[in-house]
Symmetry: C2
DNA sequence: TTAGTCCTTCGATCGGCGCCGAAGCGTCCT
DNA sequence: AGGACGCTTCGGCGCCGATCGAAGGACTAA
């Protein structure tokens, strides 16, 4: 008698460490090549190839062939959400050796969470937006206040476009490392977009970690009273 | 370099078919004993015991000892959410043999989704509530209209209590079988509670499937214009 | 065409883990 | 008390699947 969704096959795809690392890496939001993913997971190219084939077959990933490169990315927002939700269940890693500790520290400070900002910076920004009366909490969502409309407009965020988007507008997303909520949804994505446009934060290549630039540091202090 | 949440161990807990079945069974929302879970997963008691121990160690489940019985339940709402989100990624099962098809059919019609109503009935109820102007959509949430306040009060749902609950009020939840949204959150849970109180739907023992009673059938037709 | 990448397929190896039955411990019924 | 029941621990078996190296196809740049 089958009375259940078949969790097992999907979970099995995620359950193997190399595959989990690949997925986590792709959770950064950008597409990566097979070799990059193999290096990240620390397995032979042939092994990585087999894993990637399974992930594609299970429609967790999609491939795009460009010349002799194959770019893999998460198959959709649902996959990202499922992974993030799963991530809430796993405790933050401890980081034994000094190198790991350093990397973890940076990751904790600021990173991308698929398409929006996460880490201490993400949590702090949401707090500041709430405190300044730019956002208001509303269950798992957020609403933009009257004052907020102006603030986002001045910041270059197109609220109408964000509202039209076929996705959640400003979802609350539990931060994996901070265990406190940050801002996701269309608004969160737009916000990160503007932060990158203005070079207040910069993406690192092939990493999820983000760097707060000096310009960003002072701008955030000025705009939202954030100190780091 | 560890830069990721460690998905693998958690996913591995879900990845083994017997464990996945146990989790799915507990997603029904009630606590079950070790033997019940063993029977459901179709493994020997000793095997089930080992699996359950792992699930508890991984804090996906919690145990409550009552006499010589051990009642297992999901460790928290987060676990339920993670499983549901994962469930969206897995296609609905096909059901080859006639028995499975029948069971699946019933499951599709009405079932519990942790603590709220799911299946065709759940989806239809949400639709009716929206059409009758009792609820209004609001992103991934719902709001109760003025008319809705009265309707829920008449139905015996304590909206204040639902709003005070430390959880999402009326979240939209993607239905696993229907692929259309039904109503979750505190309001969804309260609604199911009243439906069961009034014996409009009845829980089956050790199954997720729910039965719509004759009284419920006519009451839902009267109250919300639903026909089945 | 030729050389150099990128990636996959194939074949063989090996280790981890699920599986069960038997035995043991604790709890409940009479 | 005695016996039945619920559940766990232990020991040994067996299998699935991850792993790698080597070889082959695909594409690019000269």
């Amino acid at each position: 008698m089958i009375r259940h969704p078949h969790f097992a096959p999907i979970a099995a795809l995620i359950a193997e460490p190399p595959r989990a690392v690949m997925l986590a890496e792709l959770l950064g939001g950008r597409a990566l090549t097979a070799t990059e993913l193999a290096a990240g997971a620390e397995v032979a190219p042939s092994t990585a190839s087999a894993h990637l084939a399974k992930l594609v077959a299970g429609s967790l990933l999609s491939v795009e062939v460009q010349g002799r490169h194959r770019y893999y990315r998460l198959a959709g927002r649902e996959v990202a959400r499922a992974l993030e939700t799963l991530g809430v269940l796993v405790g933050p890693p401890l980081g034994e050796d000094p190198f790991e500790r350093a990397a973890l520290h940076e990751l904790r400070f600021a990173r991308t969470c698929y398409d929006h900002l996460a880490g201490q910076l993400g949590v702090a920004m949401r707090c500041a937006l709430l405190e300044r009366g730019i956002l208001r909490e509303d269950g798992v969502e957020h609403r933009v206040t009257g004052r907020g409309e102006a603030w986002f407009a001045a910041f270059g965020v197109d609220l109408q476009a964000a509202r039209r988007a076929r996705r959640s507008f400003a979802r609350r997303c539990l931060d994996w490392t901070e265990r406190r909520p940050h801002l996701a949804g269309a608004l969160g994505a737009a916000l990160l977009g503007r932060l990158v446009d203005r070079a207040w934060v910069t993406r690192r290549c092939n990493e999820r970690a983000l760097d707060l630039t000096l310009a960003g540091r002072s701008a955030l202090a000025r705009e939202l009273g954030l100190r780091f």
